[in-house]
Amino acid sequence: MPRMLVLAVTIAGLCALAGSAGAYPRQSEISRGRQLAIAADCTACHTAEGGKPFAGGKPVETPFGTVYGKNITFDKDTGIGTWSEDDFWHALHDGKDDEGHHLYPAMPYNYYTRMPRRDVDAIYTYLKTLPAVHKQNKPNDLSWPFSWRWLMTFWDWLFFDKGVYQPQPQQTAAYNHGAYLVEGPGHCGACHTPTGFLGAPDRDEALRGNEVEHWYAPSLTEGSHQGLGSWTSQEIVHYLANGGNDRTAAFGPMAEVVADSTSKMSDQDLHDIAVYLKSRSAPKHQESDGGKPDRGPMSAGHRIYNAQCAACHTQGGGGQRGQFDSLKGSGIVQADGPQSVVHVILTGVQAVHTEHRPTAPAMPAFDWKLTDGQIADVATYIRNAWGNRASPVAAGNVADMRDAIGAKAGP
């Protein structure tokens, strides 16, 4: 049956392509749905590593336990094969499944709610064309009381701001489309917006940076130390399209976002995203001076930096254009939270491989080579050298991170 359905839809699409002028182009609806599913990065949670597309099973770590992405292929027994377009709309718009149960907000319905009905229908149409996969969903592994799904009623009541994106008439079409992508399907804030009580996004602080899965998703506002203040729109587009620009490469969770989502989006979409992000003013508190770090860690960090880091990142911290990241002026280096800096030094990272940036150079792990204190000193140094400014890092922060991510013991 599912195969018949695919066939039927494909034939319908081909017929539309064959040029029945005036009829609604069904194939274009499918491809629009596909583009929206890419922008929404459905695959990030709904495709397990090495698994069939959208058949679920990918673990998503939250502060409250592990949630497993569900099978959203159109298999009748294990997927969403019995869902109507209305059911699908309710899930994305209202955060409720086909039986009216509340979804966990690991599914970012609080962002998808910004999508209008015709976009949600397009995704539904697209998903329906894909092969149905018979694969049972894995039960979530949440700690009590979060395992009580009905409690989400209160979460929604407290935090869920339902409603389709409303264009701002005084803004350009590019701004509105970019804002829609960022606030809606792109759900950038799911990582980049600070979360408060019960993991709810702090809307006043939207896109101002947040810790996520032992990384720090940096500020996407116009801050000069943190944020994208010194980035041009073109640099933002290059970063999202190619997994990096002349300043920095995408790594960690963002590398996956680039690989699965942004590198497959249209240049127009990415341009509009950049227009919107460049309009986000910097938060006031983040730009204040947090005080200078002590000279001891700075001079120790400087020595470690010259011996271990400068060969690639250069003594002035500027890196090598397009190959080794610039630490000087980097928003992620100077982020409120030092998690990404410490994480990268401990485990190393590899840049994402994309068609236009195929090299994917890697930074090696230093966990086995540097002590907690040494990593703290060098992290403090790079956060405060060359005009950078950010809070110092303590050895205890490094020790905690080492434990949390299972890095090797130091020397």
């Binding site: 060969a311 195929p358 090696p364």
Partner: protein, 588 residues
């Protein structure tokens, strides 16, 4: 016959070093399904030679982390046909690699073009100097410098070679090598910044009326993006190139120039830990049907393919041809047969220079191809009348490294160990330098490769037997080059000059160079060559052979630049001629 038969591919590449990666990329771009079989393991920068541990002399140099392991298969060696050859149980004179990237991982990066006259060694020298020694089996290559120029250019721009052009389309450019063949455009990157001791060499050579230039280097003088879109970083002059992988992405290697694009191509497949035992042929013996290989569990597989390309290390290519029974093995007695004929090497020497302590050279600021060279005594750039030899070599003051364990340059007369030796090492570390000579080896009737009748490898196959010695031409050539190097050295005004002439028989024990050439020589005459000028087997037209095994003799340069050019030259012939009409690209 044993072995599971696997699904067929268009092309199977035997070995995945430089030539395998270059050819793989060209052939998948031409739309073919390509499989590479590599006997060694997967190797990449971040896992195998990251900056955090790349500079480890014990691991990489003294414990041979990147080299082939003789217990898995070695050669036997003797100087002359009358001797009993013995197995080489430890690497010494040369260091073939194993694993992806091959020796391209651990080379220095000295990237030369051969001289136009190098490709016509027999006809050129006979014309100028009369008949050659009848035991010298040198021959013309069947390709010319002009044929290869576009492909040299392509390889240099793949790698991002740093250098100074000397001859741009016939126009001489000051500061470059005036003896080089004309090049269509300059190097992709400017020459490396130079350290002190090579600059002293430059001045002395210049004052003697010679023509010094900064040597061409596969070490990046600046960040570089090649025509495949792959990026390299700027060299840090850490001095860990030869015998090491580069942790900084700043030495050209298959990893840093091709792998990121090729391995992403769905038409390409790599199988590591897959040792090819022989090329399979059909009942006529005129067509290769694929290869037989064994994995690291001892399982054998038959891999069918339309085209088989040998991309293994030079003497392994010859070995595979011999084991596969393709072509007529060379006999030194009759002079008949081309397979195994024309094995050659390199004759190298050095001149150590010891200066007063006020000359501080900081030898640790090094790079694999950081140096100033002269080509005045290479090839036929000088008159050989009355000298008693043909060919030559470059003379160069390299500052490749000042690695702490390896760098122990002491004046003659110093004890070999003990307190005095230690003091001499310490006193001379900063203020000494060496000039190298890099001499050609002309092929000779009694230098060749064949199958050993006594010793076998772990697969039960006969080992390859190497019969090689330096002949009169090499000794005269090397002595002459060493004299010239010492002359320049003296003009640098050191307090002591120690010329180390290459005397006596060739020894396989001390390290010299990993420049083994010949065995499957190329040429236009099938009686003296194994492959035609397109590197296609004369006997089996769907079999091609890449690498230095096709050199008919070895000029006075490092081979990699020419290996690169020949590979692209052959790839062009395969794609634009062979695929359109499979069959011999040159009639016998």
């Amino acid at each position: 016959m044993s072995g599971t038969t696997l699904p067929a591919v268009d092309v199977v590449l035997v070995g995945f070093g430089w030539t395998g990666a270059m050819l793989g990329q060209e052939l998948v771009q031409a739309g073919l399904k390509v499989l590479a079989l590599e006997r060694g393991a997967w190797r990449d920068t971040s896992n195998d030679f990251a900056v955090t541990f790349a500079q480890d002399e014990l691991r990489y140099y003294y414990r041979h982390a990147l080299f082939e392991e003789p217990s898995q298969g070695t050669i036997t060696f003797r100087n002359t046909p009358s001797q009993h050859a013995l197995p080489m149980r430890e690497l010494g004179s040369f260091l073939p690699a194993t694993g992806t990237g091959g020796a391209g991982v651990h080379w220095n990066g000295q990237t030369w073009r051969f001289l136009p006259s190098d490709f016509k060694v027999r006809s050129h020298n006979e014309q100028r100097y009369g008949a050659l020694d009848p035991d010298m089996t040198v021959q013309d290559w069947g390709v010319t410098y002009d044929d290869l120029e576009p492909y040299y250019d392509k390889f240099e721009y793949l790698c991002g070679i740093s250098g100074q052009a000397g001859n741009l389309n016939g126009e001489m450019v000051p500061g470059g090598n005036p003896f080089e063949g004309p090049r269509r455009r300059g190097y992709p990157n400017p020459p490396l910044d130079m350290t002190y001791s090579p600059e002293l060499f430059r001045k002395a050579a210049h004052d003697l009326g010679l023509h010094p230039f900064t040597a061409p280097a596969a070490n990046m003088s600046q960040p570089y993006t090649n025509w495949l879109g792959v990026r390299l970083g700027q060299c840090t002059y850490c001095g860990f190139c030869e015998k090491f992988g580069c942790g900084n992405y700043s030495k050209s290697s298959p990893q840093t120039t091709i792998h990121p694009v090729l391995l992403d191509n769905p038409d390409f497949e790599l199988r590591t830990n897959s040792t090819v035992l022989r090329v399979l042929t059909d009942s006529t013996g005129k067509r290769a049907t694929g290869v037989l290989y064994v994995d690291d569990q001892g399982n054998e597989y038959r891999q069918p393919a339309e085209i088989v390309v040998l991309c293994a290390y030079a003497y392994h290519n010859t070995h595979l041809m011999l084991l596969s029974g393709i072509g007529q093995p060379y006999s030194p007695e009759s002079g008949k047969g081309a397979l195994g004929r024309n094995y050659a090497y390199q004759v190298v020497s050095g001149v150590d220079l010891f200066f007063d302590k006020d000359k501080v050279f900081n030898p640790f600021i090094g790079a694999g191809a950081l140096g100033v060279a002269i080509d005045d005594y290479n090839g036929d750039n000088f008159d050989h009348s009355g000298l008693g030899f043909i060919g030559g070599g470059y003379i160069c003051l390299w500052n490749t490294n000042g690695r702490p364990i390896e760098t122990q340059r002491v004046p003659p007369g110093t004890p070999k160990w003990g307190a005095k030796w230690k003091r001499a090492v310490a006193e001379n570390y900063m203020s000494s330098a060496s000039i190298s000579t890099h001499g050609a080896v002309m092929s000779h009737r009694s230098n060749y490769l064949d199958l050993d009748p006594n010793y076998r490898n772990i697969h039960g196959q006969p080992l390859l037997r190497m019969t090689f010695d330096f002949k009169d031409n090499e000794h005269r050539l090397s002595d002459y080059l060493t004299d010239q190097a010492a002359r320049v050295g003296k003009a640098m005004n050191p307090k002591q000059v120690h010329a180390k002439y290459r005397k006596g028989n060739y020894s396989i024990v001390p390290y010299q160079t990993t420049h083994n050439t010949g065995g499957t020589a190329m040429g236009a005459d099938p009686s003296t060559s194994v492959v035609n000028p397109y590197l296609q087997s004369w006997d089996v037209p769907n079999l091609f052979v890449m690498g230095a095994s096709v050199f008919p003799q070895n000029p006075g340069y490092n081979p990699t630049g020419t290996i690169g050019a020949l590979t692209y030259w052959s790839a062009n012939a395969i794609i634009n001629r062979y695929l359109k009409s499979p069959g011999p690209l040159m009639q016998t």
